[in-house]
Protein backbone atom coordinates (compact mmCIF):
# COMPACT_ATOMS: atom_id res chain seq x y z
CA UNK A 1 0.00 0.00 0.00
CA UNK A 2 1.37 3.35 -0.94
CA UNK A 3 1.88 5.94 1.75
CA UNK A 4 0.16 9.30 1.94
CA UNK A 5 3.15 11.17 0.54
CA UNK A 6 3.55 8.74 -2.35
CA UNK A 7 -0.05 9.31 -3.24
CA UNK A 8 0.49 13.05 -3.04
CA UNK A 9 3.40 12.75 -5.47
CA UNK A 10 1.21 10.80 -7.88
CA UNK A 11 -1.68 13.26 -7.96
CA UNK A 12 -2.40 14.60 -11.45
CA UNK A 13 -0.95 18.01 -12.30
CA UNK A 14 -3.40 18.84 -15.01
CA UNK A 15 -6.65 17.09 -15.77
CA UNK A 16 -10.37 17.70 -15.49
CA UNK A 17 -10.32 17.41 -11.70
CA UNK A 18 -7.59 20.02 -11.41
CA UNK A 19 -9.38 22.36 -13.81
CA UNK A 20 -12.67 22.03 -11.95
CA UNK A 21 -10.95 22.79 -8.64
CA UNK A 22 -9.12 25.76 -10.14
CA UNK A 23 -12.46 27.07 -11.34
CA UNK A 24 -14.07 26.74 -7.92
CA UNK A 25 -10.92 28.12 -6.33
CA UNK A 26 -11.49 31.41 -8.13
CA UNK A 27 -14.60 31.90 -5.96
CA UNK A 28 -12.63 31.64 -2.73
CA UNK A 29 -10.26 34.33 -1.50
CA UNK A 30 -6.70 33.11 -1.75
CA UNK A 31 -7.53 30.76 -4.62
CA UNK A 32 -6.27 27.21 -4.84
CA UNK A 33 -2.79 25.78 -5.34
CA UNK A 34 -2.52 22.31 -6.78
CA UNK A 35 0.00 20.78 -4.41
CA UNK A 36 1.49 17.63 -5.92
CA UNK A 37 5.00 17.46 -4.50
CA UNK A 38 5.69 16.09 -1.05
CA UNK A 39 9.16 17.65 -0.98
CA UNK A 40 7.75 21.07 -1.75
CA UNK A 41 5.19 20.67 1.03
CA UNK A 42 7.87 19.67 3.54
CA UNK A 43 10.09 22.55 2.46
CA UNK A 44 7.18 24.94 2.94
CA UNK A 45 6.37 23.68 6.44
CA UNK A 46 10.00 23.54 7.60
CA UNK A 47 10.98 26.77 5.84
CA UNK A 48 14.15 25.24 4.36
CA UNK A 49 15.38 23.35 1.29
CA UNK A 50 17.95 21.32 3.26
CA UNK A 51 17.70 17.88 1.58
CA UNK A 52 18.77 16.08 4.74
CA UNK A 53 15.97 17.59 6.83
CA UNK A 54 13.47 16.98 4.06
CA UNK A 55 14.38 13.32 3.80
CA UNK A 56 14.16 12.96 7.59
CA UNK A 57 10.66 14.44 7.64
CA UNK A 58 9.68 12.25 4.73
CA UNK A 59 10.90 9.12 6.43
CA UNK A 60 9.02 9.95 9.60
CA UNK A 61 5.85 10.76 7.64
CA UNK A 62 6.05 7.40 5.87
CA UNK A 63 6.48 5.59 9.19
CA UNK A 64 3.46 7.40 10.59
CA UNK A 65 1.26 6.75 7.61
CA UNK A 66 2.11 3.05 7.62
CA UNK A 67 1.04 2.68 11.26
CA UNK A 68 -2.63 1.78 11.06
CA UNK A 69 -3.42 3.04 14.54
CA UNK A 70 -2.56 6.57 13.50
CA UNK A 71 -5.53 6.74 11.13
CA UNK A 72 -3.90 8.51 8.17
CA UNK A 73 -4.43 5.53 5.90
CA UNK A 74 -7.95 5.07 7.19
CA UNK A 75 -8.81 8.68 6.36
CA UNK A 76 -7.64 8.11 2.80
CA UNK A 77 -9.70 4.96 2.45
CA UNK A 78 -12.75 6.95 3.57
CA UNK A 79 -12.14 9.45 0.79
CA UNK A 80 -11.57 6.62 -1.67
CA UNK A 81 -14.84 4.95 -0.71
CA UNK A 82 -16.81 8.14 -1.19
CA UNK A 83 -15.07 8.81 -4.47
CA UNK A 84 -15.76 5.34 -5.85
CA UNK A 85 -19.41 5.62 -4.94
CA UNK A 86 -19.69 9.04 -6.53
CA UNK A 87 -18.12 7.81 -9.75
CA UNK A 88 -20.31 4.74 -9.92
CA UNK A 89 -23.48 6.74 -9.39
CA UNK A 90 -22.36 9.47 -11.78
CA UNK A 91 -21.44 6.95 -14.46
CA UNK A 92 -24.87 5.34 -14.26
CA UNK A 93 -26.54 8.68 -14.64
CA UNK A 94 -24.39 9.62 -17.62
CA UNK A 95 -25.35 6.33 -19.27
CA UNK A 96 -28.97 7.08 -18.53
CA UNK A 97 -28.63 10.50 -20.14
CA UNK A 98 -27.09 9.04 -23.28
CA UNK A 99 -29.67 6.27 -23.25
CA UNK A 100 -32.42 8.83 -23.06
CA UNK A 101 -31.52 10.07 -26.54
CA UNK A 102 -31.94 6.64 -28.16
CA UNK A 103 -35.55 5.66 -28.68
CA UNK A 104 -35.13 1.95 -28.01
CA UNK A 105 -33.48 2.25 -24.62
CA UNK A 106 -35.41 5.29 -23.52
CA UNK A 107 -37.17 3.27 -20.86
CA UNK A 108 -33.86 2.62 -19.20
CA UNK A 109 -33.65 6.22 -18.08
CA UNK A 110 -36.46 5.60 -15.69
CA UNK A 111 -34.36 3.04 -13.93
CA UNK A 112 -31.70 5.41 -12.73
CA UNK A 113 -33.36 8.53 -11.46
CA UNK A 114 -31.13 10.88 -9.55
CA UNK A 115 -33.75 11.55 -6.95
CA UNK A 116 -33.16 14.52 -4.71
CA UNK A 117 -33.25 12.46 -1.57
CA UNK A 118 -30.56 10.14 -2.92
CA UNK A 119 -28.43 13.17 -3.69
CA UNK A 120 -29.08 14.42 -0.16
CA UNK A 121 -27.88 11.13 1.33
CA UNK A 122 -24.83 11.25 -0.86
CA UNK A 123 -24.01 14.71 0.43
CA UNK A 124 -24.59 13.67 4.03
CA UNK A 125 -22.26 10.70 3.55
CA UNK A 126 -19.59 13.06 2.26
CA UNK A 127 -20.04 15.35 5.24
CA UNK A 128 -19.85 12.36 7.57
CA UNK A 129 -16.74 11.10 5.79
CA UNK A 130 -15.23 14.53 6.27
CA UNK A 131 -15.92 14.47 10.01
CA UNK A 132 -14.70 10.90 10.46
CA UNK A 133 -11.57 11.67 8.48
CA UNK A 134 -10.99 14.74 10.62
CA UNK A 135 -11.01 12.71 13.81
CA UNK A 136 -8.88 9.98 12.21
CA UNK A 137 -6.23 12.48 11.17
CA UNK A 138 -6.33 14.98 14.01
CA UNK A 139 -7.73 13.06 16.95
CA UNK A 140 -9.84 15.22 19.25
CA UNK A 141 -7.61 18.27 19.69
CA UNK A 142 -7.78 20.35 22.83
CA UNK A 143 -9.29 19.77 26.24
CA UNK A 144 -12.72 21.30 25.87
CA UNK A 145 -15.52 21.46 23.39
CA UNK A 146 -14.56 25.06 22.59
CA UNK A 147 -11.04 23.86 21.70
CA UNK A 148 -12.51 21.22 19.44
CA UNK A 149 -14.82 23.71 17.75
CA UNK A 150 -11.84 26.02 17.20
CA UNK A 151 -9.91 23.13 15.67
CA UNK A 152 -12.80 22.39 13.32
CA UNK A 153 -13.00 26.05 12.34
CA UNK A 154 -9.29 26.15 11.68
CA UNK A 155 -9.61 23.08 9.51
CA UNK A 156 -12.58 24.61 7.71
CA UNK A 157 -10.52 27.68 6.91
CA UNK A 158 -7.69 25.59 5.53
CA UNK A 159 -10.06 23.45 3.52
CA UNK A 160 -12.08 26.30 2.09
CA UNK A 161 -11.71 25.30 -1.55
CA UNK A 162 -12.50 21.73 -0.69
CA UNK A 163 -15.64 22.78 1.15
CA UNK A 164 -16.61 25.15 -1.65
CA UNK A 165 -16.30 22.27 -4.11
CA UNK A 166 -18.43 20.08 -1.84
CA UNK A 167 -21.11 22.76 -1.48
CA UNK A 168 -21.18 23.58 -5.19
CA UNK A 169 -20.87 20.14 -6.77
CA UNK A 170 -23.00 18.20 -4.32
CA UNK A 171 -25.52 20.73 -3.04
CA UNK A 172 -26.03 23.87 -5.11
CA UNK A 173 -25.76 22.36 -8.60
CA UNK A 174 -27.85 19.21 -8.17
CA UNK A 175 -30.32 20.50 -5.56
CA UNK A 176 -30.64 24.18 -6.46
CA UNK A 177 -29.77 27.35 -4.60
CA UNK A 178 -32.06 26.49 -1.69
CA UNK A 179 -30.21 23.20 -1.22
CA UNK A 180 -29.06 23.86 2.33
CA UNK A 181 -32.54 24.84 3.49
CA UNK A 182 -34.06 21.80 1.81
CA UNK A 183 -31.47 19.35 3.02
CA UNK A 184 -32.97 18.75 6.45
CA UNK A 185 -36.38 17.94 5.01
CA UNK A 186 -34.89 15.71 2.33
CA UNK A 187 -32.87 13.74 4.84
CA UNK A 188 -35.91 13.38 7.08
CA UNK A 189 -37.71 11.49 4.33
CA UNK A 190 -34.80 9.14 3.65
CA UNK A 191 -35.28 5.51 4.57
CA UNK A 192 -32.88 2.66 5.05
CA UNK A 193 -33.45 1.47 1.50
CA UNK A 194 -32.01 4.63 -0.02
CA UNK A 195 -29.06 4.55 2.32
CA UNK A 196 -28.26 0.99 1.26
CA UNK A 197 -28.35 1.98 -2.39
CA UNK A 198 -25.18 3.99 -2.02
CA UNK A 199 -22.02 1.92 -2.35
CA UNK A 200 -20.08 4.36 -0.18
CA UNK A 201 -22.29 3.49 2.75
CA UNK A 202 -21.18 -0.12 2.63
CA UNK A 203 -17.55 0.93 2.85
CA UNK A 204 -18.14 3.49 5.60
CA UNK A 205 -20.69 1.66 7.73
CA UNK A 206 -18.10 0.12 10.04
CA UNK A 207 -16.57 3.53 10.79
CA UNK A 208 -19.82 5.35 11.51
CA UNK A 209 -20.63 5.34 15.23
CA UNK A 210 -23.74 3.46 16.31
CA UNK A 211 -25.07 0.05 15.41
CA UNK A 212 -27.53 -0.57 12.59
CA UNK A 213 -28.75 1.52 9.68
CA UNK A 214 -31.19 3.51 11.79
CA UNK A 215 -28.45 4.70 14.18
CA UNK A 216 -26.24 5.54 11.22
CA UNK A 217 -29.01 7.58 9.61
CA UNK A 218 -29.38 9.48 12.86
CA UNK A 219 -25.66 10.15 12.94
CA UNK A 220 -25.78 11.41 9.36
CA UNK A 221 -28.71 13.72 10.13
CA UNK A 222 -26.99 15.11 13.19
CA UNK A 223 -23.69 15.51 11.40
CA UNK A 224 -25.36 17.36 8.58
CA UNK A 225 -27.34 19.63 10.89
CA UNK A 226 -24.06 20.67 12.58
CA UNK A 227 -22.40 21.14 9.24
CA UNK A 228 -25.35 23.15 7.89
CA UNK A 229 -24.78 25.87 10.47
CA UNK A 230 -21.24 26.31 9.27
CA UNK A 231 -22.00 25.82 5.58
CA UNK A 232 -24.83 28.35 5.64
CA UNK A 233 -22.47 31.07 6.83
CA UNK A 234 -19.86 29.94 4.35
CA UNK A 235 -22.24 30.11 1.39
CA UNK A 236 -23.53 33.51 2.47
CA UNK A 237 -20.09 34.90 3.11
CA UNK A 238 -18.87 33.99 -0.36
CA UNK A 239 -22.24 34.57 -2.00
CA UNK A 240 -22.14 31.13 -3.62
CA UNK A 241 -24.92 30.18 -6.01
CA UNK A 242 -25.31 27.56 -8.70
CA UNK A 243 -25.05 30.27 -11.35
CA UNK A 244 -21.78 31.55 -9.92
CA UNK A 245 -20.36 28.05 -9.67
CA UNK A 246 -21.17 27.35 -13.31
CA UNK A 247 -19.54 30.60 -14.38
CA UNK A 248 -16.42 29.82 -12.39
CA UNK A 249 -16.25 26.33 -13.88
CA UNK A 250 -16.76 27.68 -17.40
CA UNK A 251 -13.70 29.88 -16.95
CA UNK A 252 -11.47 26.80 -16.74
CA UNK A 253 -13.34 23.89 -18.30
CA UNK A 254 -15.04 25.70 -21.18
CA UNK A 255 -18.59 26.68 -22.06
CA UNK A 256 -21.41 24.49 -20.77
CA UNK A 257 -24.72 24.25 -22.63
CA UNK A 258 -26.72 21.86 -20.47
CA UNK A 259 -28.54 22.24 -17.18
CA UNK A 260 -27.05 22.51 -13.71
CA UNK A 261 -28.06 19.01 -12.80
CA UNK A 262 -26.35 17.56 -15.84
CA UNK A 263 -23.20 19.47 -15.02
CA UNK A 264 -23.28 17.98 -11.52
CA UNK A 265 -23.70 14.51 -13.02
CA UNK A 266 -20.86 15.10 -15.44
CA UNK A 267 -18.56 16.27 -12.64
CA UNK A 268 -19.55 13.32 -10.48
CA UNK A 269 -18.70 10.88 -13.21
CA UNK A 270 -15.46 12.35 -14.50
CA UNK A 271 -13.69 14.15 -11.66
CA UNK A 272 -12.12 13.09 -8.35
CA UNK A 273 -12.24 16.44 -6.60
CA UNK A 274 -13.07 14.96 -3.23
CA UNK A 275 -10.26 12.42 -3.27
CA UNK A 276 -7.77 14.85 -4.77
CA UNK A 277 -8.22 17.53 -2.12
CA UNK A 278 -8.53 14.85 0.55
CA UNK A 279 -5.05 13.50 -0.13
CA UNK A 280 -3.66 17.03 -0.06
CA UNK A 281 -5.35 17.86 3.25
CA UNK A 282 -4.20 14.66 4.96
CA UNK A 283 -0.66 15.08 3.62
CA UNK A 284 -0.38 18.59 5.05
CA UNK A 285 -1.42 17.52 8.53
CA UNK A 286 0.85 14.50 8.35
CA UNK A 287 3.86 16.59 7.35
CA UNK A 288 3.16 19.10 10.11
CA UNK A 289 3.29 16.26 12.58
CA UNK A 290 6.35 14.57 11.09
CA UNK A 291 8.22 17.89 11.05
CA UNK A 292 7.55 18.27 14.76
CA UNK A 293 8.62 14.73 15.58
CA UNK A 294 11.96 14.39 13.79
Amino acid sequence: MSTVLERLDHLPRRNLTVLALKGIGSLVPGGWQNLTSADALIAEVMGTDDPQLISQVRQRADTLSRARHEGYGRALSLYDAVNRSQKAAGGLRVLANIGGALPLVKNLTNLTPTSDSLQAVDLSLKVAAEMLAFTQVNGLPGDSFADFAAALNEYGGEARVRMAALVCFDALLPLGDQALERLDGLLGSVGRGELKQLPAYGAMASLIPGRGDEAHLNFLRQGVSHWLGWAGGFVQGLGLTGQKAVKALESTIGPWQGGFEQLATFLDAFTDTYQHTGVQAVARRLVERAAAEI
Binding site: M46, R289, E293
Partner: protein, 206 residues
Protein backbone atom coordinates in the same frame (compact mmCIF):
# COMPACT_ATOMS: atom_id res chain seq x y z
CA UNK B 1 1.82 -46.04 1.77
CA UNK B 2 0.56 -46.36 5.26
CA UNK B 3 -2.30 -44.18 6.41
CA UNK B 4 -0.24 -42.42 9.11
CA UNK B 5 2.49 -41.51 6.67
CA UNK B 6 -0.05 -39.99 4.27
CA UNK B 7 -1.60 -37.91 7.02
CA UNK B 8 1.81 -36.86 8.28
CA UNK B 9 2.91 -35.73 4.84
CA UNK B 10 -0.33 -33.85 4.32
CA UNK B 11 -0.06 -31.99 7.61
CA UNK B 12 3.59 -31.18 6.97
CA UNK B 13 2.69 -29.72 3.58
CA UNK B 14 -0.12 -27.64 5.08
CA UNK B 15 2.09 -26.35 7.89
CA UNK B 16 4.81 -25.47 5.40
CA UNK B 17 2.35 -23.53 3.24
CA UNK B 18 1.00 -21.54 6.18
CA UNK B 19 4.51 -20.79 7.44
CA UNK B 20 5.66 -19.76 3.98
CA UNK B 21 2.63 -17.52 3.51
CA UNK B 22 3.34 -15.67 6.76
CA UNK B 23 7.03 -15.27 5.98
CA UNK B 24 6.88 -14.39 2.30
CA UNK B 25 3.55 -12.68 1.70
CA UNK B 26 2.88 -9.20 3.08
CA UNK B 27 0.65 -10.48 5.85
CA UNK B 28 1.99 -7.99 8.34
CA UNK B 29 -0.66 -5.48 7.42
CA UNK B 30 -3.36 -7.97 8.42
CA UNK B 31 -1.88 -8.73 11.78
CA UNK B 32 -2.76 -6.82 14.93
CA UNK B 33 -0.43 -3.99 15.85
CA UNK B 34 0.32 -1.32 13.32
CA UNK B 35 1.58 1.14 15.90
CA UNK B 36 4.38 3.60 15.23
CA UNK B 37 7.75 1.91 15.55
CA UNK B 38 6.06 -1.26 16.83
CA UNK B 39 5.76 0.24 20.31
CA UNK B 40 2.48 -0.50 22.04
CA UNK B 41 0.28 2.54 22.53
CA UNK B 42 0.11 1.87 26.26
CA UNK B 43 3.75 2.85 26.66
CA UNK B 44 3.33 6.16 24.86
CA UNK B 45 2.19 9.18 26.88
CA UNK B 46 -1.17 10.37 25.57
CA UNK B 47 -1.33 13.73 23.80
CA UNK B 48 -4.13 14.88 26.12
CA UNK B 49 -1.57 15.21 28.90
CA UNK B 50 0.46 17.67 26.81
CA UNK B 51 -2.34 20.13 26.04
CA UNK B 52 -2.24 22.02 29.33
CA UNK B 53 1.53 22.47 29.12
CA UNK B 54 1.42 24.75 26.09
CA UNK B 55 2.25 28.41 26.69
CA UNK B 56 -0.68 30.74 27.10
CA UNK B 57 -0.92 33.13 24.15
CA UNK B 58 0.01 36.82 24.36
CA UNK B 59 -2.77 39.38 23.96
CA UNK B 60 -3.72 39.59 20.29
CA UNK B 61 -2.64 36.02 19.66
CA UNK B 62 -4.61 32.80 19.79
CA UNK B 63 -3.55 29.23 20.28
CA UNK B 64 -5.56 26.75 18.21
CA UNK B 65 -5.00 23.07 18.88
CA UNK B 66 -4.86 21.18 15.60
CA UNK B 67 -3.79 17.61 16.33
CA UNK B 68 -3.85 15.31 19.30
CA UNK B 69 -2.73 11.72 19.07
CA UNK B 70 -0.97 9.24 21.33
CA UNK B 71 2.41 10.76 22.05
CA UNK B 72 1.75 13.94 20.16
CA UNK B 73 -0.04 17.24 20.48
CA UNK B 74 0.22 20.22 18.17
CA UNK B 75 -1.17 23.74 18.16
CA UNK B 76 -0.92 26.77 15.92
CA UNK B 77 0.00 30.13 17.28
CA UNK B 78 -2.03 32.66 15.32
CA UNK B 79 -2.01 36.42 15.15
CA UNK B 80 -5.15 37.75 13.45
CA UNK B 81 -5.74 35.12 10.76
CA UNK B 82 -2.15 34.25 9.89
CA UNK B 83 -0.26 31.37 11.44
CA UNK B 84 2.97 32.48 13.12
CA UNK B 85 4.25 29.16 14.33
CA UNK B 86 3.51 25.51 14.93
CA UNK B 87 4.03 24.44 18.52
CA UNK B 88 4.29 20.76 19.34
CA UNK B 89 5.16 18.33 22.11
CA UNK B 90 5.94 14.74 21.19
CA UNK B 91 6.97 11.61 23.01
CA UNK B 92 10.21 10.41 21.42
CA UNK B 93 9.70 6.82 22.55
CA UNK B 94 8.40 6.07 19.05
CA UNK B 95 11.21 8.07 17.42
CA UNK B 96 14.48 7.35 19.25
CA UNK B 97 16.46 8.70 16.29
CA UNK B 98 15.06 12.15 17.08
CA UNK B 99 16.98 12.16 20.36
CA UNK B 100 20.41 11.69 18.84
CA UNK B 101 20.63 15.21 17.43
CA UNK B 102 20.64 16.64 20.95
CA UNK B 103 23.94 15.01 21.86
CA UNK B 104 25.73 17.72 19.86
CA UNK B 105 23.67 20.48 21.44
CA UNK B 106 25.60 23.57 22.57
CA UNK B 107 22.75 25.64 23.94
CA UNK B 108 20.16 25.22 26.63
CA UNK B 109 16.80 26.61 27.62
CA UNK B 110 15.94 26.24 31.30
CA UNK B 111 18.58 23.56 31.57
CA UNK B 112 17.37 21.35 28.71
CA UNK B 113 19.40 20.85 25.54
CA UNK B 114 18.38 22.92 22.53
CA UNK B 115 19.04 22.43 18.81
CA UNK B 116 18.17 24.33 15.66
CA UNK B 117 16.74 22.49 12.67
CA UNK B 118 17.09 24.70 9.65
CA UNK B 119 16.37 28.42 9.79
CA UNK B 120 12.80 28.15 11.13
CA UNK B 121 12.68 25.38 13.72
CA UNK B 122 14.01 25.00 17.27
CA UNK B 123 13.70 21.90 19.39
CA UNK B 124 14.18 21.12 23.06
CA UNK B 125 14.56 17.70 24.67
CA UNK B 126 13.07 17.38 28.14
CA UNK B 127 14.01 14.48 30.43
CA UNK B 128 15.65 12.72 27.49
CA UNK B 129 12.13 11.75 26.49
CA UNK B 130 9.85 14.59 25.36
CA UNK B 131 10.61 16.83 22.42
CA UNK B 132 9.20 20.34 22.42
CA UNK B 133 9.34 22.10 19.09
CA UNK B 134 8.55 25.51 17.64
CA UNK B 135 8.44 25.78 13.85
CA UNK B 136 7.98 29.33 12.60
CA UNK B 137 5.70 29.71 9.59
CA UNK B 138 6.25 32.32 6.90
CA UNK B 139 8.09 35.31 8.33
CA UNK B 140 6.91 34.31 11.80
CA UNK B 141 9.64 34.38 14.43
CA UNK B 142 13.40 34.69 14.73
CA UNK B 143 15.53 32.29 16.74
CA UNK B 144 15.40 34.35 19.92
CA UNK B 145 11.61 34.54 19.88
CA UNK B 146 11.41 30.81 19.27
CA UNK B 147 13.64 30.12 22.27
CA UNK B 148 11.51 32.39 24.40
CA UNK B 149 8.42 30.47 23.31
CA UNK B 150 10.11 27.17 24.15
CA UNK B 151 10.84 28.51 27.63
CA UNK B 152 7.18 29.47 28.05
CA UNK B 153 6.05 25.86 27.89
CA UNK B 154 5.46 24.27 31.29
CA UNK B 155 8.71 22.28 31.08
CA UNK B 156 8.61 21.24 34.71
CA UNK B 157 5.15 19.78 34.25
CA UNK B 158 6.37 18.01 31.14
CA UNK B 159 9.36 16.50 32.93
CA UNK B 160 7.00 15.16 35.58
CA UNK B 161 5.15 13.17 32.91
CA UNK B 162 8.09 10.85 32.36
CA UNK B 163 6.92 7.45 33.62
CA UNK B 164 10.48 6.39 34.53
CA UNK B 165 10.67 9.46 36.65
CA UNK B 166 7.44 8.70 38.43
CA UNK B 167 8.32 5.11 39.12
CA UNK B 168 10.86 6.07 41.73
CA UNK B 169 13.94 8.19 41.80
CA UNK B 170 11.91 11.11 43.06
CA UNK B 171 14.61 11.74 45.63
CA UNK B 172 17.22 11.87 42.91
CA UNK B 173 15.48 14.81 41.29
CA UNK B 174 18.18 17.21 42.33
CA UNK B 175 18.10 18.89 38.98
CA UNK B 176 15.35 21.53 39.27
CA UNK B 177 17.79 24.15 40.51
CA UNK B 178 18.78 24.74 36.91
CA UNK B 179 15.18 24.65 35.72
CA UNK B 180 14.06 27.50 37.89
CA UNK B 181 16.66 29.74 36.33
CA UNK B 182 15.53 32.24 33.72
CA UNK B 183 15.93 31.32 30.07
CA UNK B 184 19.59 30.99 29.35
CA UNK B 185 20.27 31.59 25.73
CA UNK B 186 24.00 32.05 25.73
CA UNK B 187 25.95 28.95 24.79
CA UNK B 188 27.61 27.49 27.82
CA UNK B 189 30.97 25.82 27.89
CA UNK B 190 30.62 22.13 27.33
CA UNK B 191 32.28 20.72 30.49
CA UNK B 192 30.20 22.91 32.73
CA UNK B 193 27.05 21.74 31.04
CA UNK B 194 28.00 18.14 31.53
CA UNK B 195 28.40 18.50 35.29
CA UNK B 196 25.67 20.96 35.78
CA UNK B 197 22.58 19.79 34.09
CA UNK B 198 22.86 17.00 31.64
CA UNK B 199 24.27 14.23 33.74
CA UNK B 200 21.55 14.28 36.42
CA UNK B 201 18.99 14.09 33.62
CA UNK B 202 20.70 11.15 32.06
CA UNK B 203 20.92 9.29 35.33
CA UNK B 204 17.38 8.00 35.64
CA UNK B 205 17.46 6.60 32.14
CA UNK B 206 20.78 4.84 32.64
Amino acid sequence: MSRILRWGLGLLLAAGLVLGAFLLLPFQSWLPGGTVGGISTGKVVNGTAFNRLFPSPQPGETLVFTQEKRGFSEARLKRASSTKALLAISDTITAPEARSKFSASQEQVKGWPLVEQGPQASALLVEDRFQVKVIAQGVGLDAEQRHELLGDFDLQGLAALNPEHRAGRRAAKALPASRSQPVSLAPQPAPERADDAVSPVMEPAA
